[in-house]
Symmetry: C3
Subunit: 168 residues, 3 copies
Amino acid sequence: MDIDTSRFSFAVLTMSDKGSRGERVDTSGPLLQKILAEQGYRQANYAIISDRVDHIREKLIAWVDKEKVDLIITTGGTGVAPTDVTPEAMAGVLEKEIPGMAEAMRAESLKKTPNAVLSRGKAGIRGKSLIINLPGSEKAARENIAVLLPALAHALDKIQGGVSDCGT
Amino acid sequence: MDIDTSRFSFAVLTMSDKGSRGERVDTSGPLLQKILAEQGYRQANYAIISDRVDHIREKLIAWVDKEKVDLIITTGGTGVAPTDVTPEAMAGVLEKEIPGMAEAMRAESLKKTPNAVLSRGKAGIRGKSLIINLPGSEKAARENIAVLLPALAHALDKIQGGVSDCGT
Amino acid sequence: MDIDTSRFSFAVLTMSDKGSRGERVDTSGPLLQKILAEQGYRQANYAIISDRVDHIREKLIAWVDKEKVDLIITTGGTGVAPTDVTPEAMAGVLEKEIPGMAEAMRAESLKKTPNAVLSRGKAGIRGKSLIINLPGSEKAARENIAVLLPALAHALDKIQGGVSDCGT
């Protein structure tokens, strides 16, 4: 079935201490916006924030609860460094986890590098919104979102109560 | 090693709002009963209930704690729709999670459809019983249980304190 | 990039009721020590303890918080038997989970045996230390650690705040 992707708005949130201070140019955020726009999704927002659990939660909750953004893609903060806290911030944000999305991205990345096991991003649902954590590097973000693109529109349709057939 | 599957009882629980109201015929539940019976497991119970966390928990806990069913297979409610709450119901039921069962089912399904990432079923142990969440569609339920069948008897034997060799 | 593995200390913890009573010789523990020493890591400690959640937690927390061991490998207690409680002991020890490590080990083992789905080991971070649960059998422990060895030094470097490139 074909679902009209323009039904769904998206926002991209880049986690980067350096980026939020203007000391580093964010390339993954713009890349993800380009990819999603090319798929027909409507851009609603974009922000760069520092790697702090409370900041991340506040922003995600505002985008879901107030701005009603349908799809939120985060990039950065998914690794094992002390500053990487994106997965921890998801507790208290996600109401339902979708572990298969994270597993599929890691399994695909693992074909290219053994370091893929260190990617700790989560995916899940809050309200009627889908939130997906991607790694911060441009290359990894591009490869990871590619794994999920074929399932995104169907996921969003179902999350919002649609009755399209799963094909599973 | 060969473990006698007739040592173990099983029950199938179908989650379906429509099914529980008699508005939809459950085909996955009967299919799973047939598959498990063919493997030699003894049928103990079968029920169709609505997609409500409290109903699901109550039924699973009764089947484990009172009826001592060894193996409980659920079907339905594992997706991302607002009514899909089977994985959430498992909290408060499972005492130990077995994430590898869910991962293996999703990885296998992913070979067939990108939507497999949306299957959120869990598996785990309560008391001396094994509980496994399968998707609701007949096709997905059949494909998913096939992944686990070769490990089921050994799992049940170990869960109940058996000393068979893992072969791992 | 090449990271000097001799920067990092390691310890091996074997979970075995029989082993802790001297009724069973631990072969997996010594094997893992040999493998890690051959990779250049410096041995800090080794112990065999019984399969009790409080004992496991106490030992792991002491090794991380007091002895500052960089890498802790546990072996045993990851299965589905009533005595297998290693994964449950990790709650209250790990501050960040690294689910991809456990997923990758299980996916690799699954190529050899369907019983790999029953391995419930976790991996994660406490303070600046990496803790990884491996199965108890010598064969499974060897096969599982082999999956992670190529990512270990990079993981430890990042966990401790290093700025080496992920290559992902």
